[in-house]
Amino acid sequence: MRSESTPLIELRQVSKTFGKAADSSVQRLLQRLHVTRPRPVTHAVDKVDLRIQRGEVVGLVGESGCGKSTLGRMVAGLLPVSSGTALVDGQPRDSLTPEERHAMRLKVQMIFQDPSSSLNPRLRVDRIVGEGALLHGLTDKHGFDDYVSAQLQRAGLSPQLRQRYPHQFSGGQRQRIGIARALAVQPELLVCDESVAALDVSIQAQILNLFMDLRDELGLTYLFISHDLGVVEHLCDRVVVMYLGRVVESASVDDLFARANHPYTQALLAQIPRFDVRSTRYDAIQGEIPSPLNPPAGCHFHPRCPHATARCREEVPALREVSPNHLSACHLNDLS
């Protein structure tokens, strides 16, 4: 029913806004009566297109407030989309029957950033890892211990630790428990939201190696969200760069790091501290990251862009192909 080319995940013109304006008349009345305060509306994600093929590792990079975490949660089905459609295996998420949606939910699992808050401190590790699998019949009462032990083993933890509680583990070990939990429900796609950001360099390397082993062993697909371009460069096949809710560039890793097209990507790549570049002269781009509460008109990057033109200030640049499967959203491409 789904041909090989159907992407595992596809987002079409997906947007997400938080704090909807007072739509019901009662709320408007209350606000006019000065009883409640109007809530500001933030446009976290703005009409994003994204396709993730099976077995691919897609990197999603951008600075704080660019909406990459929100996008990740929409892909994982934890956040409903405000507009646009999200398709899993070619089927729109919201048009599924409850049972289908239930099964669909297990296909995409999320690995979180903060090892201390992604595990329930009051539950034993074996229940944390195995509860989902048990509920969905992937294992049963008496097979439970072996199943959980196998998951922990695969994530690099010794099974005798499964009786313990999260506070008895280090940051790196807790991240492994999160991975074991995700894999226990046999997903096809792992959304990793800054999964190694909170770890030290040496522990980070161990977890990245684990991700790579799992990819080879289980043929997993990854959406790897990170602000650390070094990690993304090493791990991903394709990179999508976001700025203030919009995709500004998307290309294969080699293409992006060698021939970055969008001024923002170029600035990002220029300013990452490089290990082999000594006593660098930092020429930073000026200006603050605008607040998502009132994003600038036209291209969001124009206030900080060295090549900004009048057109950039009014017209939102479309995400177009500038070279074979290398997309970029910048008016400068129209001139060349």
Partner: protein
């Protein structure tokens, strides 16, 4: 990321150490808390066993001998020869038995109302946090209203309408105290539901109610337990105060508050013991509860409440 200036605490626990066991170990490490707990357990035992260990049933008017009224501590009973260790009150009640029976009422009212209020309040708090929207706003406005008025005033008003009696006192306490639990339960449930382990559970297709009860509630318990301890102490004090004002228990079955009130008139003729000893019993009970509550607050959630 760099941890705080102090290095990461030792994480290589030997055997499975559940968070609740860790709480117990830390609780025991403070001597004053242990003393408080022992005194509290002793008082509860004594209160429960009162009818069997006491020389006289203070609430059975037949056994009271008016001639023995207002006897100083240590004086003997007229006929059966047992001594009134702490003296007798205005109606000839042996103060020791009266205090023990009074403790029964105080503990029953205090703990009973706190527990029932806790259940109601937590339920309301969780539902309000989970449903959200206008129901949440409505409930929380009601809670804020209830909490902005001092309990004793509301109690006075309600008792003025409902009339006296232990049942009414308990009803009043429950009516007023559930709001504390509701506000804390809601606040805690909201903070916990924003943490990543709840998203993880949702992602694993675990049902909403199973998440609320199985995942969020256990993490909401610590602050509720701390409030519970404080509320029991306040409830006991309030019951004693209302009885002192003559609005609580009936005259024939005096609780500690009424005993103290009855003793007030005899103080001028230097018969201090009638008010002194019930007051001391009340004080020791409340101090014990507060010691335990204080330690629980430090152990369970250092930053909560004052």
């Amino acid at each position: 990321m760099n941890a705080a200036s102090k290095p990461v605490p030792s994480h290589v626990g030997l055997q499975a150490q559940s968070p609740w066991r860790r709480v117990v170990l830390e609780f025991i490490s403070s001597p004053t808390a242990v003393v408080g707990l022992l005194v509290l357990v002793l008082i509860m035992l004594v209160a429960v066993l009162a009818p069997w260990i006491v020389v006289q049933n203070p609430y059975d008017l037949m056994q009271l001998n008016v001639l023995d009224a207002r006897l100083a501590p240590g004086s003997a009973n007229m006929d059966s020869g047992y001594t009134y260790w702490l003296g007798t009150d205005g109606q000839g009640r042996d103060l020791v038995s009266a205090i023990l029976y009074g403790l029964r009422i105080s503990l029953w009212v205090g703990i009973g109302s706190a527990l029932i209020a806790a259940v109601i309040g937590t339920l309301v708090g969780l539902v309000s946090a989970y449903v959200g929207g206008w129901l949440d706003a409505l409930l929380m406005r009601l809670v804020d209203l209830l909490l902005s008025f001092p309990v004793i005033l509301m109690a006075l008003m309600i008792l003025a309408w409902l009339g006296k009696g232990v049942g009414n006192v308990m009803l009043t306490l429950i009516l007023l105290e559930w709001a504390y639990y509701a506000r804390t339960a809601r606040g805690q449930a909201l903070t916990e539901s924003r943490r990543e382990y709840v998203d993880a559970a949702r992602g694993q297709g675990i049902g909403p109610w199973r998440i609320v009860v199985g995942h969020i509630l256990p993490n909401c318990l610590p602050p509720l337990i701390v409030i519970g301890a404080l509320q029991i102490a306040r409830a006991i004090t309030l019951e004693a105060t209302l009885s002192f004002l003559g609005l609580g228990v009936p005259v024939t079955e005096p609780s500690l508050g009424l005993l103290i009130a009855n003793g007030f008139q005899y103080m001028l003729s230097n018969e201090y013991w009638i008010s002194l000893f019930p007051g001391l019993a009340l004080l020791i009970t409340i101090v014990a509860i507060n010691l335990v509550g204080d330690r629980l607050r430090d152990v369970l959630n250092p930053r909560l409440l004052r």
